[in-house]
Symmetry: C2
Subunit: 349 residues, 2 copies
């Protein structure tokens, strides 16, 4: 198994190092990592946030372990050169259309949630976000002068039925493997794109009579995630709504430093990354929490490398380490990044 | 002063009746209400959710007091006939581009918030949402077959500089009248529309050197509203992000039954409505909380009728009634809709 290792900017190198340590311990010989540049780190060396070699390496790998991108030194750059373009480019080039973002409350970390205990207890949901379509990539888009010579910015929101079908199926399959409940989120009372979305989701529902499907408008969904997050099991939604709702869900459970994500294509190739950012303010200080990246490694074993048991082992080790009191600064503790990695290592069994 | 009174569907008639009672008590002779049909109620009688007469009445009134629209009996209708189209149509026809949505924690109702006390205490923010542009109204939009004969849904997200300028000015003015902090929310790392938005907001900022301006991406904003809502004072944002974030903010403070809104045009004409919906399940039972509509009436006095002192009087009376323990069912109490109205009436001074 060849894994492309893209550490990226800020705390990226520190946190991916711990994930690599755990992955090597768990699958030993059979896994190899090839490092490549991405984001601001790549731009500084090559002039591009997503160099050709990096893209090629990713295409030739079984999976990608990704740290994070984002660097204040790049803020002045034109958009095409900014670190975020690297991740958007990878998603599109590798057709990573299915973004799985779990948000669950770690019982030991109840105190970290901004929600009251009775509201957040039991929250364990999975957001299935479409990642290669919608207003993120629709054309035409740009800036121009309108017929009255005013500057105008415009983007195209769009989905075709095939794009909706494939992400809907991932949503239904995921729901089937969990509690059997799927909530599709759209804004079909206003948007044509959402109306097609809802129509197609309803069609695909015929293939999954065992899954209970519901629909919710995105504004109400934002409200419900705060009022009663435990009502959700699996959510399926488009790229833009998924961006907002998945960050919201992670804030609700309160442990942003612990939440992993997977972005998959139709062959199961995937990019795995923590949902938190590059945290330039603490980069290089050994303060970052590596758990989200370690858990992203577990998702990689599960989804791309089909090593479910090894994934479980890592996830259990993270829980055990937390139960034993392992805490980095973001969780009110004193452990360094590598001490936390070691705590997980020690808890593997 | 002539007010168009659009009670609408569900609990609309009950809650607007209480607001009318309070408004008449406060401004007595000088205010007259003209009723008209809207939403499902209008469709049932006229075949249209927004009849011509209603629109004409609204155009000829000083302000509009609106209950709520939404009726399950209309769910089967094609979209153009649905109750929501009435509110979208009114916004567009009357050019009600500035939607003011306050979200503040009523200290007596701390227990209603899903957020922990230390997180939510002190939250008092105003969301200024653009209401007549963005992907809500952009063209082209529709459903069609794409070049591979697949069904496709599409919408156009767009803003021109004039639209951004006028809502930005409302944002800056609102911030100036409060703590002097304005946060503009966009997704300019991805969207061209957001890039123009940010550029224009920065230009308008030159006119308001006394206001401190910050920018935030919408995904982060959703997170921050849950993690630390008290960091915000005034938020300015587009139609779609404003829809999601304002509902989210109202969920955070927990008192959806108490939150009013104003939708203004450039002459100060406005439509005033509670942010909650038509609650068909409790319609006609006298259980609905009328406070959001009563507080919408106060906003009407402040913004369209320039009766600041009367607006204050109503808002104080609502606080006093709550302090004295007045509670409808949604707040865990036993009062009926009209008993709550009477409690506010009794607290006026
Ligand atoms: C960095 C940005 C382009 C990205 C997105 O909007 O998709 C991020 O917010 C995410 O959710 O992965
Ligand atoms: C009913 C719907 C069209 C409306 C909107 O999306 O604007 C509502 O959610 C609101 O916020 O007033």
């Amino acid at each position: 198994m060849r894994i492309a290792l893209l550490a990226g900017d800020g705390i990226g190198p520190e946190i991916t190092a711990e994930a690599v340590k755990i992955l090597k311990a768990v699958v030993s010989q059979e896994i190899e990592f090839d490092e490549a540049l991405i984001g601001g780190a790549a731009w500084k060396v090559t002039g591009s946030p997503l160099p050709e070699e990096t893209l090629k390496l990713c295409k030739n790998s079984d999976a990608i372990l990704f740290g994070s991108v984002g660097d204040p030194e790049c803020d002045h750059l034109e958009r095409a050169l900014r670190p975020e373009q690297a991740i958007l480019g990878l998603r599109k080039e590798l057709d990573l259309f299915a973004n799985l973002r779990p948000a669950r409350l770690f019982p030991e970390l109840q105190a970290e949630s901004p929600l009251k205990e009775n509201i957040v207890t039991g929250t364990d949901l999975m957001i299935v976000r479409e990642l290669t379509g919608d207003v993120y990539f629709g054309t035409p888009r740009g800036q121009r002068k309108d017929d009255q010579n005013r500057r105008e910015g415009f983007d195209t929101m769009r989905y075709n039925e095939d794009e909706v079908k494939r992400i809907a199926r991932i949503g239904f399959e995921t729901a089937r493997s969990r509690s059997g409940n799927l909530c599709s989120i759209d804004k079909s009372n206003v948007l044509e794109t959402s109306q097609l979305w809802r129509t197609v989701v309803l069609e695909i529902a015929q293939e999954y009579p065992d899954v209970e499907l519901s629909h919710m408008y995105v504004d109400n969904a934002a409200m419900q995630l705060v009022r009663a997050p435990d009502q959700f099991d699996v959510i399926v939604t488009g790229n833009l709504f998924g961006d907002i709702l998945s960050d919201l869900a992670s804030a609700c459970v309160g442990s942003i430093g612990l939440l992993p994500s997977a972005s998959l294509n139709s062959e199961g190739k995937g990019l795995y990354e923590p949902i938190h950012g590059s945290a330039p303010d603490i980069a290089g200080l050994g303060k970052a929490n590596p758990l989200a990246t370690i858990l992203s490694g577990a998702m990689m074993l599960r989804y791309s490398l089909k090593r479910e048991a090894d994934a479980d082992r890592i996830e259990k080790a993270v829980s055990t380490a937390l139960e034993k009191g392992a805490r980095t600064a973001d969780l009110g503790g004193k452990m360094t990044t590598s001490e936390m990695g070691n705590a997980v290592l020690a808890a593997l069994n």
